[in-house]
């Protein structure tokens, strides 16, 4: 029988960790605000899905993985790539479609990849990457390793067949997978309650023997971190999968072509969630606890602004892929 838990995390005081998480989230925020500017200027093309508002999810989970663990996600992937250790320069250059991008300009916003950090992409077909995650879990188990794979997905994924097929096999074969639903309340413009015939997405785990279903407050990075820690440990030591429903909210539209509010969601709702901003909540908590000063915050902002500007400048100067690159990477030369 699957168990369903509501995360009840304790905010243990760890100023160094708080500072690290604040930095991690703020880098994503300021980076993506800059991406929005670049998009408006035509420097970034195609579909571009910003992660703004959801930063606590990537920071809380990826921030505690080992270098040899794996991460896979959706087209809303910039923040996750950054937290995983792909440099702001490489992510920005990819967005600009340049040769120094983490996918050498062939992927774009939706397809960030980085072999060095086991960042297995940025996938553009809803649900399609969830079986891939189970496959990575299969490979880990096949080799007798103790790594884990974290698979991020949006709330709309819980209604598609690939998700269920993957979760079934992950439970059946006891694979070390964390399936993380980032429930930002909308699959594009359709609210969760009009798409999923359950009130609580974590109950999807109930269909799969031995799979924990956990609800997490995604606006509180501490809650995310502590709940994910248990699931990671469970995967690592017992090779058991978990389904984490992290309740979050995106402050921007589904993609750049989408109004922030006024169509499928109200300004009032947006304002309500904006007050729960995970970054400013953490900042306020740290200031109240005396572990951060306004001056330190200003310094942090300045440092990050410089990092983001550096990423922009680097991307802007990086060459476009040469025409010869068009026919490269279709097939690899077989060496075995």
């Amino acid at each position: 029988m699957a168990t369903r838990k509501k995360s009840d995390a304790k905010n243990a005081l760890d100023p160094a960790l708080d500072r690290e998480m604040l930095h991690s989230m703020l880098v994503q925020r300021r980076f993506e605000e800059k991406v929005g500017e670049a998009y408006a200027l035509g420097k970034v093309g195609g579909f571009c899905h910003l992660y703004i508002g959801q930063e606590a999810v990537s920071t809380g989970i990826i921030g505690q993985l080992r270098p040899d663990d794996y991460v896979i996600g959706t087209y809303r992937d910039h923040g996750q790539a950054l937290v995983r250790g792909v440099t702001p320069r490489a992510v920005m250059a990819e967005l600009f479609g340049r040769i120094d991008g983490c996918s050498h300009g062939k992927g774009g916003s939706m397809h960030m990849f980085d072999r060095h950090t086991n960042f297995l992409g940025g996938h553009g077909i809803v649900g399609s990457h969830v079986p891939l995650a189970a496959g990575v879990g299969f490979a880990i188990k096949y080799r007798g390793g103790d790594q884990v794979i974290v698979c991020f997905m949006g709330d709309s994924v819980v209604n598609i067949g690939a998700f269920h097929e993957a979760l079934n096999m992950a439970a059946l074969w006891k694979l070390p997978c964390l399936f993380v639903i980032e429930n930002n309340r909308y699959g594009m413009g359709t609210p969760v309650e009009k798409a999923a015939a359950v009130d609580d997405l974590s109950t999807r785990a109930d269909g799969y023997k031995g799979m924990d279903g956990i609800v997490i407050d995604g606006m509180d990075v501490h809650s995310v971190r502590s709940a994910a820690a248990l699931a990671i440990e469970r995967a690592r030591t017992e090779s058991l999968p978990s389904l984490l429903e992290v309740r979050t909210y995106r402050f921007r539209g589904h993609s750049m072509s989408d109004a922030v509010s006024g169509t499928y969601r109200s300004k009032k709702e947006l304002d309500l969630y904006t007050q729960l901003d995970p970054i400013f909540s953490l900042k306020a908590g740290m200031i109240a606890a005396g572990t951060l000063t306004e001056k330190e915050w200003e310094t942090l902002e300045q440092e990050i602004a410089a990092t983001v500007q550096d990423a922009w400048d680097f991307a802007d100067q990086s060459p476009e892929p040469p025409p010869a690159a068009l026919f490269e990477d279709v097939l690899v030369e077989t060496t075995s």
Partner: protein, 326 residues
Amino acid sequence: MAIITYREALNQALREEMSRDDRVFLMGEEVGVYNGAYKVSKGLLEEFGENRVVDCPIAELGFSGVGVGAAMAGLRPIIEFMTWNFALLAIDQVVNSAAKMLYMSGGQFNVPIVFRGPNGAALQLGAQHSQAFESWLAHIPGLKVVSPGTPYDAKGLLKSAIRDDNPVVFLEGEMLYNTKGEVPDHEYLIPLGKAELKREGGDCSIITSGKMVLVAMQVADQLAKEDIHVDVLDLLTLRPMDVESIRVSVRKTNRAVVLEEGWEVCGIGAQVVDYIQRDCFDDLDAPVVRVHQADVPMPYAKGLEKIAKPDVAKSIAAVKQVMYRT
């Protein structure tokens, strides 16, 4: 040389490659305890254990994706589809995941995987179980597509497919599994991407692959009695296609028939004809004729099924047409 079945040839290839490389594993429906729906994996569970011969739930999309993920993490999966008709449920993983991964990752993640199983019609299985999908699959950059017609080719090509570092679609045939042929006792590989001239003639080229190779060989035998001698060019690999071998044959014979199992519209034959008109236009003495399945879903009734399929009689008529013989 031993004479063995196409099924046994595939089984030998699987066994040899699984013995050679412990990253290779077989996954699919009924591949283990049941020994394979068509017994291709007979004995492998016993020999390699359940970690490497993995029975899956009936979930083509899911287990194909598991294969792709495992390949990204360093394994070399062989995914068996009970038939390619069922693989349509997994087309997203074949096309959007396996075929795209290397390119969209800028060369970082290759996917060494084989998707294999029977393709095309058998006997009276009706519309949903009698489809040949080679043109769909060969359309996709990032895949290799292989279609062997004999036990010798099946073994040598499957071993190469398993060793290939790219996703390889491997099309077998239910009607081929029991066919027999000579297979060497020593180990051998057949390179992907090379066609083979299976019969040498001078009057007309029959360009074909897979199950239709057997039809073409019968055509060649029968026409020889009428003193018509044809080249039978077996493409073996449909992507990348060995265009040079097509050119060489057509420039010699000046006439061509393209024989395929699938439907006409946007079929493999259409691509072959395009290569011919581009490169051999001035060599042709007659328009190229295509032989293929009738442009209908496959009927169940025996008589209707027979007339829907490409066969020896239709192929002979096609050769005579391009030779202006009656």
